[in-house]
């Protein structure tokens, strides 16, 4: 099972390790700085951390030694929209929302999803970045809008482990976009998603859907789970079409989803109260799990707080390890839990952390 966990928090990148039967904070990097995304790259052992400095902008750092030493990299940036001043309305990256490795057969290829909704590619381990024009220039982008943040953003990038050219990207709010040629061309997926926040005649409009998070099964990549603003959906054709799962309890609203790496029918969610309330149902934090593709759900709460809770688990703050047995979960109120036995038994690691943006296992 995984023994090292990275936590991207409002006040730095925290590394937790498991030893002698307990979890402890082993390292803190970028103390005081908001870390918005972290990527341990299993292909070469590199570690990437995206920062959002309150005054001085978005930054990206890389470590080749597990976080002991860091090197600042160029940041994904939009091309100039014109001469200085003429580009007054031109885009500028305000957040790196997610980082993804480009596939086992593409060493050095990285993808970054940003706010506003830019997808960026690096072919050299992050030392240079290029905006993926083919998605940015889609005319449908004019219909995208912000969800939570003022501007739309890309938060999920799923690279098919069978074929690195096949990628699914999710935009809040701009739907699910699919490519089969490594981003040269795109098609709009997400048939079957439903947006109650739109006028009734446009609720099935694929381009204004708000997928909160996608999770792709490593062993069965055609299965993609989607925690959507309006519920839980599952695709078994790589993201083209989705079926709504209506059995979730205690609620179908949430942000995070994790899928078992070997079993596409097993997935975890953290239910909450929609829309803007965003607290646990009845203020009792639980995790819900299905083991049968969404036909039924279990509510997991052993080890989670018995007292009223206001914890919100962001979309990147739930992760399952490579064995499919150990989960990690972090909340906006600075709680961190480890869920062993597939989430049947939770252990509080700390209740005193900064707000948590992301948790991810190192191995």
């Amino acid at each position: 099972m995984a023994e090292t966990l990275y936590v991207a928090s409002r006040k730095g990148l925290l590394t937790f390790r498991h030893s002698a039967g307990a979890w402890h904070l082993a390292d803190t990097a970028f103390l005081g700085d908001p870390v918005t995304a972290v990527l341990p790259d299993g292909r070469d052992g590199a570690l990437y951390a995206a920062l959002n400095l309150g005054h001085f902008g978005v930054k990206l750092h890389r470590s080749g030694d597990g976080g002991q030493n860091w090197e600042e990299l160029p940041t994904p940036a939009f091309p100039s929209a014109g001469d200085a001043g003429a580009g007054a309305d031109g885009p500028s990256v305000s957040l790196i929302w997610t980082l993804a490795a480009g596939g086992a057969d593409r060493p050095g290829v990285l993808w970054a999803g940003t706010i506003p909704g830019g997808l960026f590619r690096s072919d050299d381990h992050g030392f240079s970045w290029t905006l993926v024009d083919s998605l940015w220039d889609r005319p449908e982008r004019a219909e995208w809008f912000g969800g939570g943040y003022d501007q739309p953003g890309i938060h999920s990038i799923c690279v098919d482990p069978r074929d690195s050219d096949r990628i699914a990207v999710a935009v809040s709010c701009g739907g699910i976009w699919l490519t089969g040629d490594s981003g040269a061309t795109w098609r709009l997926g997400g048939t079957g998603l439903r947006a109650d926040y739109m006028p009734p005649d446009r609720s099935d409009d694929r381009v204004t859907q708000d997928p909160h998070r996608l999770a792709q099964c490593a062993a069965a990549p055609d299965t993609i789970w989607c925690q959507h603003h309006n519920g839980i959906f599952r695709s078994t054709d790589g993201g083209d079409t989705f079926t709504e799962i209506t059995t979730a309890k205690p609620a179908a609203f949430g942000f995070a989803v994790a899928v078992h790496p070997a079993d596409p029918n097993t997935a975890w969610f953290v239910p909450g109260v929609k829309d803007e309330c965003r607290v646990p149902v009845d203020r009792r934090l639980v995790v819900s799990r299905t083991n049968d593709g969404g036909a039924s759900y279990e509510v997991l709460k052993d080890g989670l707080p018995d007292e009223p809770s206001f914890d919100l688990v962001y979309r990147h703050a739930l992760d399952i390890d490579a064995d499919g047995r150990r989960l990690a979960m972090g909340s906006t109120t600075g709680n961190l839990w480890i869920g062993d036995a597939g989430g049947s038994r939770w252990t509080s690691v700390s209740s005193h952390l900064p707000p948590i943006n992301q948790v991810i296992w190192a191995d």
């Binding site: 001085f56 600042e72 091309p79 200085a84 007054a88 031109g90 500028s92």
Partner: protein, 89 residues
């Protein structure tokens, strides 16, 4: 030449000592600094070359007006202060 100095809060991220550089506008002054310190650019300006929202620049005791083109005039006798806004933290 105008003298330009930077908030101490930047020093936590990268070195940017005070400098005397040629330039008749804020943009020209900054470009001259960036020529020797290219990393600094993204800390002060966004992707489109605009002054970041939570960074302020003063020419002596006057805050610059043009945050987009950075066209405010600078003379050889001026001091340019790059400061951290109290917003944005």
């Amino acid at each position: 030449m105008p003298r330009v100095s930077f908030t101490g809060n930047l020093q936590r991220h990268l070195s940017c000592p005070p400098a005397e550089v040629a330039g008749e506008t804020v943009r020209a002054v900054l470009q001259a600094v960036f020529a020797d310190n290219p990393r600094l650019r993204s800390y002060l300006l966004d992707d489109q070359g605009r002054l970041r929202r939570h960074v302020n620049i003063f020419i002596n005791d006057r805050m610059v007006h043009d945050r987009c083109r950075l066209s405010d005039q600078v003379t050889d006798a001026d001091e340019v202060f790059v400061v951290q806004a109290l917003s944005g933290g």
